[in-house]
Amino acid sequence: MAAQTILQKLEILADAAKYDASCASSGTAKKNSLGGKGIGSTEGMGICHAYAPDGRCISLLKILLTNHCVFDCHYCVNRKSSNVARARFTPQEVVDLTLAFYRRNYIEGLFLSSGIVKNSNHTMEQIVEVARILREEHDFRGYIHLKTIPEADPEIVHQAGLYADRVSINVELPTDSGLTRLAPDKDARQIEGAMGKVKADLVEAKDARKRFRHAPRFAPAGQSTQMIVGADAATDADIVGKASRLYDNFRLRRVYYSAFSPIPDASAVLPLKRPPLIREHRLYQSDWLMRFYGYKPSDVMQATEADGNLPLDIDPKLAWALKFREAFPVDVNRASKEQLLRVPGLGVKAVGKILASRRHRALRLDDVALLTQSITKVRPFICTVDWRPITLTDRADLRSLLAPKSEQLELFAA
């Protein structure tokens, strides 16, 4: 067979990476290339350099070093028994691509993952080698996110953290039984063990920097993980529970969810139906509630329905409010920030504006309308000097009144 061109390899190895949900390039230490020999900067906020027709942002060159794999995970298009086209980059080729794209301002940096070739250590070494060449030989100061292989030697994983802004280890599936069944070659304890080790490295590096200003940084953007949703029977309550344990135990920056999507050449062990993308969306919304709105995992779990899943027709915040109607209406002129944050339709920004404005005037419904996206959604849950929803929160059909007209709208509206 003729050798593949870079273009052909890129086609295969970017395609193989498209199921990975993480894209963020934010939250790392500030750096720039002034006074250095190379290029690159990170200024806290990541930049999305393009958007793909699936609505997701492109901020990093997200590719696999290779999609050859000795493992046989059923949800994965690269599993050993799948018959997709295979390709393999050399570390230098990935470096060259990253730099060429970066110089043209196409990307913020590199997200590198890989199928497992030969063995875990070998693969991890190759991944680290890419980062080493970028950082040491080219003085590259852009963003690097490395996917680490849990079975690899902790020493090599540690190296990865010294070069990368962020490292991630996929937990793959929300339950251990799901993992046993769908990723027979993987081991839940090993995955969590690797996360624990990374957390220890993060803590230690932070400590060292407090004492010595020049102590090496270790993955300043922290660690993240990804879970596949809908490939096994785990409910949203299971998933949220798992995510919050991971946040607590390993101080993760982010848990990404990837709705299992019908991958070409799917294995027959996979579920009957493709889970709706909207479910992934609801999980992100609940993650958001926990990270920015002060909801506890137990609050989100209480918002699930009898089957343990979040409703698909309404968002989790509204679902919670409808279950706890006694917490409403909330007086926008008097309520605490925490109470305001629980009002469906009020975002963090709108709450900030309400708190600031109410020092100057007693807010009327029209004022609130100016400060929010949609007053219709908010109205049933608040009172103002000129508005009190006497009957609305008691109405049995409140849900259908507030639910978006169809779930299609939310996902595909142009």
Partner: protein
């Protein structure tokens, strides 16, 4: 002394700004005007190229504030908003900012009142400018120009069309990022040039001043086309963040119509395929029987053969799983009727297992073979084929719900476990399955058929021992 005494009644002041984005100039003039008590409706602000017709006869000399004028007050929030909002292209921005500054003197906390129309407007300007800057950071696309001159070397040039006067304000961002690269950003409002040491400004440019292409763009477009998932088209979300007006200067954007159109096709094919892959699995044995005859999920089903359904009582405690039907099974439509089946019967009888009480089936439902003349030679199914056919055996298992499953041969074990195990290592002990039943693994009887003499004798004994252990365990479970 009343305020109005400083100012000639009826005087209009006209302030000409030297640059559209000169905040410091505006601040200085605004301070003097406030201190001279000139109300907002008496000042006209004119930016370069803008018209000051309305106030053509206004006073161009600035009023001189009285010695005892109070200092002008403005909180930090106002200053940072104003500094950014002044970059907006709205000609009204200077007047708006002056009006706000004026009002701030009597109500110093006014900026907190988010419901005030002036405060809202300036926040809106600020937001538009920040968004425009952000889009510039994101959507500038450099193209490489290789110079003939060795000393000059590589030069990266971009063409960008900002909506507002943001070019100068964003010079630092590109300088910090590309500090060791020679680059220029050309825009209709002016240009920036960085030579790795100093920044210089140039006149407005036109699109044809910038290079037309870059060889890297093919790779970039390939990346762009490959990284998105056609099964989750969300055009609205894309347009919201990357409005069409930016597309013409982004090499990858030319692909979008094609990708969107193609995605529908790709998704339709996925759904078509998915109709098979994600159908509801039949929940009766009769329906599975019917479905496997129509199944073409793997290449074996495309051969000239028939599917063979398992047989036995639906409430059997023991499920025996072989590899796949052979020639005779294919002909008769029944499992384990050929030589291997006969050998199995003998051994089952020997250890006292009643075959008729067990549910007997295969990991793969169709016969895989190669044609040699008139003969059909048996071939082992591949891992992928076994995994595909696992769909059906799982269906049978879900209905029969055996307490114990006996898998004969590595293929059968894979059909139940999803991974390949070594028989010699796992035989003789149960492997728990996730529904609470247990799996026992032994050799396939056709393996015995291929052996001779002492080796066969030895394997037969092992086989019997496995069967005896299964029998004992069944009695325990009963």
């Amino acid at each position: 002394m009343t305020a109005l005494q400083h100012v000639k009644l009826g005087t209009y002041y006209v302030v000409h700004l030297p640059e559209a984005d000169d905040f410091d100039f505006w601040r200085e003039r605004a301070r003097a005007l406030v201190q001279s008590d000139v109300p907002p409706d008496r000042v006209a602000w004119v930016e370069p190229g803008g018209s000051g017709d309305l106030f053509a006869h206004g006073e161009r000399r600035m009023p001189v504030p009285p010695m005892d004028a109070k200092p002008v007050r403005a909180n930090r929030r106002f200053v940072s908003l104003a500094r950014n909002a002044i970059l907006h292209s709205d000609p009204e921005r200077f007047a708006l900012l002056y009006r706000l500054l004026w009002r701030l003197q009597s109500s110093p906390r006014m900026m907190e009142d988010k419901a005030d129309p002036d405060v809202r407007r300036v926040e809106e300007l600020d937001k538009n400018v920040r968004r425009d800057s952000h889009k510039m950071h994101a959507f500038v696309r450099f193209r490489l120009v290789e110079s003939e001159d060795e000393d000059v070397g590589e030069h990266y040039v971009a063409w960008f069309e900002p909506d507002h006067h943001i070019l100068r304000a964003n010079a630092g961002f590109f300088m910090r990022r590309f500090s060791n690269m020679r680059w220029s950003i050309l825009t209709p409002r002016g240009s920036l040039h960085w030579d790795t040491e100093t920044m210089s400004e140039g006149p407005p440019a036109e699109r044809h001043d910038a290079p037309g292409g870059d060889p890297m763009e093919d790779l970039w477009r390939t990346y762009y086309a490959s990284i998105f998932n056609p099964a989750r088209l969300k055009i609205g979300a894309m347009l919201k963040e990357m409005p069409k007006k930016y597309w013409k200067n982004m090499p990858e954007a030319s692909l979008i119509p094609e990708l969107v159109a193609g995605a529908q096709g790709r998704e339709a094919r996925m759904v078509e395929k998915g109709a098979l892959e994600f159908e509801e699995r039949p929940d009766t044995l009769a329906a599975i029987d019917k479905a496997i005859h129509a199944c073409r999920k793997c290449p074996i089903g495309q051969l000239d053969n028939h599917a063979v359904m398992g047989e036995g009582p639906q409430d059997a405690a023991l499920m025996i799983v072989g590899e796949q039907p052979g020639d005779q099974e294919d002909q008769t439509g029944r499992p384990f009727v050929g030589p291997a089946g006969q050998l199995l019967d003998t051994h089952l009888e020997k250890v006292g297992i009643d075959r008729r009480a067990a549910y007997v089936t295969n990991a793969v439902k169709h016969f895989k073979y190669v044609q040699r003349g008139k003969r059909r030679l048996h071939q082992n199914p591949g891992a992928k084929e076994i995994d595909t056919c696992r769909w059906w055996i799982e269906g049978e298992r879900a209905i029969v719900q055996p307490k114990l499953v006996l898998a004969m041969g590595a293929s059968a074990a894979r059909g139940l476990l999803g991974k390949t195990v070594s028989i010699s290592r796992v035989r003789g002990a149960p492997i728990p399955l996730e529904d609470g039943s247990e799996l026992w693994v032994t050799a396939h009887p056709s393996y015995l058929l291929r052996l001779e003499g002492a080796a066969r004798e030895e394997q037969a004994q092992l086989f019997d021992a496995d069967l005896a252990a299964v029998r004992a365990r069944l009695e325990e479970l009963a």
